[in-house]
């Protein structure tokens, strides 16, 4: 059973990422804050008897459900379905070099330079915007896998899809982000 401190520490460690992820989904700070609060309270009330190690997976599931509940309440089911259907995107993935983008990102942001702090924050905002633009399933897979650092199996369980789908979503997301960043001028 998780103690108060364990629960508080866990929530503190995930709350900002949970908020950002929800903002990407619902595109509104107030709604995202309400959803995160709702998810925290559901976790606290219903899963307080679970060990602390189980909390991350349970919380992500609750957060996803709370977000879906919000969409249902908003009665924008059609919009959600449109966002979720990300199978229509083009499959061209090998046309550019991931390494170039990686070097560009690391070249632009990897070294801490005081002179280009503004430029750095602009690029961070740009990446943030591009992540928000990803199709919902790709974004969810990317964030769960690389931001929340769940493994492929856990991500698949949370998303209710196969591990192969998770890999595909992640790959497409990374390629889409790399491509978008290159298009925005982040080049070596």
């Amino acid at each position: 059973m998780a103690t108060d401190k364990e629960l508080s520490d866990f929530l503190k460690s995930v709350e900002k990422r949970a908020f950002k992820r929800t903002v990407y989904a619902v595109r509104g700070d107030d709604a995202a804050l309400d959803i995160v609060q709702d998810a925290m309270i559901r976790l606290a009330e219903k899963y307080v008897d679970r060990p602390a190690a189980e909390l991350p997976l349970i919380f992500q599931r609750i957060l996803s459900n709370a977000t879906m509940d919000w969409f249902r309440r908003q009665k924008v089911r059609n919009a959600v379905m449109t966002n979720l259907s990300d199978f229509e995107g083009s499959d061209e993935q090998g046309d550019f070099d991931l390494l170039e983008t990686l070097e560009a990102v690391e070249g632009t942001l990897g070294t801490e330079s005081a002179s280009d702090a503004v430029s750095r924050s602009q690029i961070l905002a740009l990446i943030d915007g591009q992540v928000a633009e990803l199709p919902a399933r790709q974004r969810e897979a990317f964030l769960l896998r690389y931001w929340e650092e769940f493994d492929v199996a856990e991500t698949a369980a949370l998303m209710g899809c196969s591990e192969g789908s998770v890999k595909t979503h992640c790959s497409r997301a990374v390629h889409a982000l790399a491509k978008a960043l290159r298009a925005k001028g982040i080049t070596p």
Binding site: S8, K16, V105
Partner: protein, 147 residues
């Protein structure tokens, strides 16, 4: 073989880029505005308070359930004798209601039978034969005003 290595390298590269981008996202998330971090803090504290209440509730619930009585024959009576009587007391008014409804139905049926028997007795003991009531001419005679 070469394509397998290429695929592995590509996957590794993809993972590195993804991790780098996720790191940058984390950096941006860490710099959220003060009002949002405050609201998140309040939500977190509310959640911890709720968890504490839920834990307390869970601790008191087993105490009330501890009155489960195990009988020597392996039979367990949930809640002990007092709870059994309480349940019976809850069911008893329902049983009385059902029995009352059955009695009323029986009594009504008996009344109907007796009323029909009375009518039959009057009809059969009358001078007028019962077939006369089915005769249209007799019905007209009954409707016509007395002379």
């Amino acid at each position: 073989m070469t394509s397998l290595i290429d695929a592995k390298e590509k996957e590794l590269l993809q993972t590195r880029l993804a991790a780098r981008l996720a790191g940058l996202l984390g950096e941006q998330a860490a710099a959220l505005p003060h009002d949002i971090t405050e609201r998140l803090r309040v939500s977190r504290e509310q959640a911890v308070t709720r968890a504490r209440m839920a834990r307390r509730h869970a601790e008191t619930a087993p105490a009330s359930a501890s009155s489960v009585v195990a009988l020597p024959g392996g039979l367990a009576v949930f809640g002990g004798p007092s709870a059994w009587w309480q349940r019976m007391a809850n069911v008893l008014p329902l049983l009385v209601l059902v029995a009352g409804l059955l009695l009323i139905e029986q009594w009504t049926a008996r009344e109907q039978v007796l009323a029909a028997a009375d009518i039959d007795t009057v009809l059969l003991s009358d001078d007028l034969p019962p077939d006369a009531y089915a005769d249209p001419g007799f019905a007209e005679f009954l409707k016509s005003p007395p002379p």
